[in-house]
């Protein structure tokens, strides 16, 4: 099993990487390019698992060389799980990339990072409900402070592929439920 850390640039991916891995970190060039990426090992329930810090990308439709490499690294890896790191204060565009990865059938865990920044901006996210709708683990984190890292590690094994149709169905049912309670109050 391999784990890929994916997300936009500047969402704290490398902070996660540094916190999750030990000393045995290597930096290498992606073959045939000048794009480098970092690779290390992390422990999940006592097992050593490879963790790769993929270059930051905004979507799976690459617009430059670094993004091309990010997409290629995802596509060529077998038996892989993805930690999708999202800037909680810009959650919607973060979910765009996460959705793209889910649509391609990769097992995913979401790290809603920079929760503190989002709170400063008065953005409140119901992580539990998000997890229920998406059907994948969603963990709130503040990576620089080390918050939520342990929970993230403990839930990587729960990552699983999801059918987009299920997500659509889930949003419909929560919307109905919301409409239902709203109707009841009148």
């Amino acid at each position: 099993m391999k784990i890929l850390l994916m997300g936009h640039p500047n969402v704290g991916k490398s902070v996660f990487f540094n916190r999750l891995t030990g000393a045995n970190v290597t930096e290498s060039n992606y073959p045939g390019t000048t794009v480098d990426y970092t690779k290390g090992w992390m422990k999940i329930e006592g097992e050593d698992v490879e963790l790769i810090d993929v270059p930051g990308t905004f979507s799976l439709d690459p617009k430059d060389r670094a993004e091309e490499v990010a997409v290629a690294m995802l596509h060529e890896s077998k038996d892989v799980r993805v930690i999708s790191v999202i800037d909680a204060s810009k959650i919607e565009r973060g979910l765009y990339l996460a959705m793209e990865i889910l649509e391609e059938g990769y097992p995913l865990v979401i790290a809603l990072n920079m929760r503190d920044v989002a709170e400063d901006k008065n953005i409140v996210i119901d992580a539990g409900k998000l997890e229920w709708i998406l059907g994948v683990p969603v963990v709130s984190t503040v990576a620089i402070a080390g918050e939520g890292i342990k929970e993230l590690v403990s839930r990587i094994r729960e990552a699983k592929p999801v059918d987009v149709a299920d997500i659509t169905a889930n949003t419909a049912s929560t919307a109905d439920a919301a409409a239902g309670t709203a109707g009841g109050e009148v």
């Binding site: 480098d36 490499v69 992580a127 949003t171």
Partner: protein, 411 residues
Amino acid sequence: MKLSPEERWDLIDRISRETVSFGAYRHTLKDAIGELTIKPMTGIPIAIAVMYGFWSVFGSFAGFFTDGFFVRLFDAYWLPWLQEVFPGQGRFLYTIMVDAGGIDSGEFVLSSNCLESFGVLTSGLFVAIGIVLPAILIFYLTLALLEDIGYMPRLAVLIDTMLHKIGLHGYAIVPTILSLGCNVPGVAATRILETKKQRFIMMTLLAIFIPCGAQIGIMQDVVPDLMGWILLYLIIGYFIFGYILNKVIPGMAPEFLIDVPPYRRPMLSNIGKKVFGRVKGFFVVAIPFVMLGCAIVGVLYQFGVIRFLGDLLAPIFVGWFGVPAETAGPLIAAFLRKDLAVAQLSVIEMTKYQMITSVVLVSIYFPCVATFAMMLKEGWKELIGALAVLAVTVFAYGGLIHLIGILLGVA
């Protein structure tokens, strides 16, 4: 199941409506500073001030350590001690490793400083540690600070218009500035450019016109009063040849599209890590090259190869570039070590114009071997193309500078 962007956004909007509440947003001081540094009226003066500050910090820090400490350490203690204890004065190994010396009124004399001795253990070590180390350290430290604060994307936005004229876009400022430290990470950073055409233009310009920290450090040390002119010629060349390359090379130059992240407080550990990594990377690459280059240049001098080539090519240097015949040796040695070549040039008697021209020539021709290897990673076709451009550029630009000199009446 794959969605179209529209369907995907629809779904995300629905998810977001169920799970996220956006409260009222207050404008913060950070936002205000963010806007001030990106609006042209305030942003451009600030950018100029930042760049000037960068340069001042670089110059004074590097000067402080090089002149105030390393020059004394190497010239007053290290060199005399080595000259004393290293066996076989005047012999081959001594000449290569310690001091090639000079001939003064028919007699062999030892050099008085580490820039003239040309030994691997003296000049080589002095350049690597005394000049390059402080320069590269302060350079990467300042740059890491600017990067981690989040200033670079704003600089990219401000300079986009200018770089567009040469087929690049604003983000090309990142590889350009990185190259001022070392061209190797500079070439690596071209990955943020979209097309092959852009990457080719960028790499070629970096290899030709952007002097690395080692060169800048040594220029700052031996020809400080000419720095302004030399850099001006290099910047002008960067834009002239960028403009030409953009016209000549087929391919697209896509539009600029970048994310401008908010400013944030830099993390000390992150900066430390970055600076350490880059300085280490530079040294692993640079030290062996400086030492080896120094040794090879020494050997070639000993066997008269450089003198031979110098005599052969001197007419071109004199006739086409307008520099004195004595510069032929250093200009040829510069194929291996640009920094040492600059040091050699600095002790030759010549006019200000000739000095500027010869230092500019050293800067623009032939990238260092490490850069060379890095460019090869992008493909050998690109590398050959870059070399062809390089050869043409050296002749055309060298000739142009000579012409300007003639017109100004200084050549």
